[in-house]
């Protein structure tokens, strides 16, 4: 008995688990979740589908210049490096934000639902740290998915079309290295945008125990944003909407690259991220465990 008493660590100061260990543990948990893996695999099949589809369709749909996202397909023909960017553009509209929302839903609402959030709080992991770890985990999932899409897109494009370089929308040709840098930039930029959506989802996630509520709320939010974008009377709102900046992803295909839209949208995403995490923190720090 006395031996046990002596072996006890002192009880006089706060002790915390190493942050790196928490982050690694979070990633281990996320990447062992079957649906995360399935979602990432499905998303990375999208560039393959687009690439093969475009090649099969050939020049059939290369009509005289519409302005919708369809005209990106035109430049894709014979231009494999466009495939990663085009895939990310299409996925950014809905599926990547949904992946972020799903991850955010599991991060707080899901853990709460399984009773495992309480286990972390008792360990204890402070609530601010908990949120930080969760935000990191969600961001990493989004990054992995985005990078996987870009990588699969790049490989598919190179196999289908070759490595002649990236023809920009501006009409000039970029070197292989330049093209890789542009794709890398797209991955980072898209990750940050989706991370901002996920932060809002994380805030919703902090309020509920039901992951499906988070998904539904995110879908509803996406729908509302889409509606707000098309109502002309509400166009004063557009600078505030995160989604309006998403068209600037195609700017990476222009040369010289116009940074304005990309930077503006990144700053906007940073604001959304801050708002989302702040609401999540306020809720988490007042929530009963």
């Amino acid at each position: 008995m006395t031996a046990a008493v002596v072996a006890r660590p002192a009880l006089d100061r706060p002790v915390r688990a190493p942050l790196g260990r928490l982050l690694v543990s979070e990633l281990r948990w996320i990447l062992r979740r079957p649906r995360t893996i399935i979602a990432i695999v499905l998303l990375s099949l999208v560039p393959v589908l687009i690439g093969v589809g475009t090649v099969i369709a050939g020049n059939a749909n290369a009509g005289p210049g519409g302005n919708g996202p369809g005209s990106l397909f035109t430049i894709l023909i014979g231009n494999g490096f466009v495939l990663p960017v085009l895939s990310l553009t299409l996925l950014l509209a809905m599926l990547l934000p949904l992946l972020g929302a799903m991850s955010a839903a599991d991060a707080l609402a899901g853990e709460s639902n399984h009773g495992t959030l309480r286990g972390l709080l008792i360990a204890p992991v402070s609530r601010a740290r908990l949120l930080g770890v969760k935000a990191f985990g969600v961001g990493t999932v989004v990054f992995i998915a985005t990078a996987a899409v870009a990588l699969v897109g790049l490989v598919t494009g190179v196999i289908l079309v070759g490595t002649d370089g990236l023809i920009t929308l501006t009409g000039n040709t970029l070197s292989f290295g330049d093209a890789l840098a542009r794709i890398g930039l797209s991955v980072v930029w898209v990750t940050f945008q989706v991370w901002a959506v996920a932060a809002i989802a994380l805030a919703v996630s902090a309020f509920t125990e039901h992951p499906l509520v988070v998904m539904a709320a995110t879908l509803a939010g996406a729908l509302v944003f889409a509606i707000l974008t098309v109502i002309p009377q509400l166009d004063w709102m557009q600078p505030y909407l995160l989604t309006t900046g998403w068209t600037s992803l195609t700017d990476v295909l222009r040369d010289p690259m116009p940074w304005d839209g990309l930077i503006d949208s990144t700053l906007k995403a940073a604001c959304y991220l801050l708002i989302g995490l702040s609401v999540a923190y306020a809720r988490l720090s007042t929530k009963d465990g």
Partner: protein, 322 residues
Amino acid sequence: MTTTSLVEPGVGAAVAAPALAARTRGLRKTYGSTVAVDQVDLDVPDGAVLGMLGPNGSGKTTTIRMLLGLVQPTAGEVELLGHPMPGGAQITLPHVGALVEGPGFHPFLSGRENLRRIASAEPLMATSAIASSVDEALSRVGLSDAADRRYRGYSLGMKQRLGLASVLLLPRRLVVLDEPTNGLDPAGTREIRRVIAELHAAGTTVLVSSHLLAEIEATCTHVAVLHKGSVVAQGELAELLEAGAPALIVSTPDVELSLDSLRDNGIAARSTEDGLFVELIGTSAPKVVKVLVESGAEVHEVRRRRTGLEELFAQLTEGETQ
């Protein structure tokens, strides 16, 4: 008790003798207009195994959650291991193992992976010791063979034991178990009792809640009885059990004969439904038995009335659920 010897210099002067592992004063928690816990003054002596006894909905879990800083009290104060809660959570909780409201694990992870995840979050766990601590905890609860199966496939008993294993990952100063035997078969219940006894022997304070008196009686040194959100009795188990006037309950068909002979010997007794109730005032149990046997009455059973706690608990649970 050797409780005072457990106080170390590091704990500080905040804890007065006798040392308390946990203490609440005027604790109150309301959810809207519902009062979950009211005026709870709970003392958990250091080194004790305190049973928190109360019917379902009596406020046991809410009190435990406030002790652990999971829930903010509406009023009153909480002190855990000498530090106020929830402010001192980062100081005290690393030394506390708790299993609250059933085990919480991820169904798609194996038992081992689930424990690893919890171990990673434990501040006092050395990173290099995670694997061995997890193995040891699993073997202590007898789950070594099922460690790599998914939690989804565990039986209720296995889930409960995995929960217990998460508490045993580290040596603790205080272990809190909320209804640990829920859903367990008798063998599982014995297992839990053994673990509690081991913890007690190692000097760990244990706070265990239950709605079953027998479980508390079997494992605890101290008891606190909760009813409708308030503590109605607390103290050492032995004292509470012995409280009240001692008496014997005699089961016999020959009530008249027995009553007469007892009264002839100056022993106070009255008839009950199926026998006699004999108060042991100015007499002793052997003497009563002797008188009864000599009277020639047919005695089926004589037992000591469990006063105090049992009586109290019977009163509390009557009309609650049954």
